[in-house]
């Protein structure tokens, strides 16, 4: 199983029936593929839709129905559309149960940096700051390391997305939560040992006696 699939499948297990969920672009988008069909989850697209459905077949797309990246999507039965004030009222107002976002760095306190690399990449924060500030539960879906460098750092040196810590980080190697404000290793990926995770993690991790492997 490749890294992205491991992450997406594991994150999908965090969703519950009836949840209102906002998925960021990249790996988070893949999470929708692994939600059991019989489980009704509402996906929000922040450009103004609850009830996003799969990418329509060739020739079946509508130019006025797109995701936040401008790509054609479909709307499921029971979908609702609204303006951007409503969309971000839902997000900031705590009506979104779970948001899944990508990350550049998460630190030992659970703080997230995911919107800019000064001088290099300044695309803008879009909806990320509101999502991390307002969603009931924030899950970060990202690779454990990039170019051999740990993305789970002692302290973020990139600009923070929010002062509110995230709730869960799911990588291709581990699941990490922050009980009592301390980064704690909850699970490892199949075939990955605790020592292996610790060796590639810059942040200090609390390791409980029993660390199970992800069940995918």
């Amino acid at each position: 199983m490749d890294a992205q699939t491991i992450i997406a499948r594991r994150v999908a297990q965090e969703l519950r029936p009836g949840n209102l969920v906002n998925l960021g672009i990249g790996i988070p988008t893949l999470v929708a593929n692994y939600v059991p069909k019989e489980m009704s989850v509402f996906f929000q697209s922040e450009n103004g839709l609850i009830g996003t459905g799969p990418i329509p077949e060739q020739g079946m797309s509508h130019p006025l129905l797109t995701d936040a990246g401008g790509r054609p999507i479909s709307a499921l039965p029971g979908a609702a559309t609204f303006d951007s004030a409503m969309s971000f009222g839902l997000i900031r107002g705590g009506h979104v149960d779970v948001t899944v976002l990508g990350g550049l760095q998460v630190d030992a306190d659970g703080h997230l940096a995911n919107w800019m690399i000064p001088g290099k990449m300044v695309p803008g924060m879009g909806g990320a700051m509101d999502l991390v500030t307002g969603a009931k539960r924030v899950i970060i879906a990202m690779q454990h390391a990039a170019k051999g460098k740990s993305k789970i750092v002692a302290k973020c040196n990139l600009p923070l997305t929010s002062s509110r810590p995230v709730d869960l980080v799911v990588t291709d190697m581990a699941v990490i939560a922050f009980p009592g404000g301390k980064a704690t290793l909850l699970e490892t990926a199949p075939g990955v040992g605790v020592a292996e995770v610790l060796a590639v993690t810059e942040a200090e991790l609390t390791v409980p006696d029993n660390v199970p492997q992800m069940k995918l």
Binding site: H62, D83, S84, F88, P123, T133, T161
Partner: protein
Amino acid sequence: MKPVSAEAAVALIPDGATIMVGGFMGVGTPERLLDELVRQKKSGLSLISNDAATPGKGVGKLFDGAQVSRMIGTHIGLNPKAQQQMLGNQITVDLIPQGTFVERIRAGGCGLGGVLTPTGVGTLVEEGKRKIEVDGKPYLLETPLRADFALVHAFLADYVGNLSYALTARNFNPLMAMAADTVIVTAENIVPIGVIAPDHVVTPGPLVDYLVSNG
């Protein structure tokens, strides 16, 4: 509401004007007005728009010919030309969180002195802003945003200027239609009065100054 051609509507906009343009990645953007801004070579524009779309689409067209001198938005990462112009200091870009962006426009259109939001507290976004505590929780005071012109795209417009929108093309349009001195609208369909039922009108006609004729 006055019916007008796209050419005449855009002729009202002087160089250096502040324009607010509806749309999200070019979806729900009044393309004909953008084409006309390009054709009439309007320059030095201050653009208030969620994103910079992509080259050749929506407000992205304004970056193709370097017609923008300042942008206020939330994300320009999918338009390499806007990125280049920002990193080369040809344009000034204020990037703000999307929820804050839309609330500042709402405040501008609704006569509010600003909004208090928790978004941005403890980040670069709080620099230079007043922090106000309410019930022990910190918020940033975000000031209203208004423009000289709002360029709005609707799905249906009737003969008195009542507007309704479709799917994800609604986005910032109804908010912007309240937050500018002059509001210019294009619509996919212009329909007789009554076709849009009163309960389905999103933007009431009196907010619309100019409706661009179709064809």
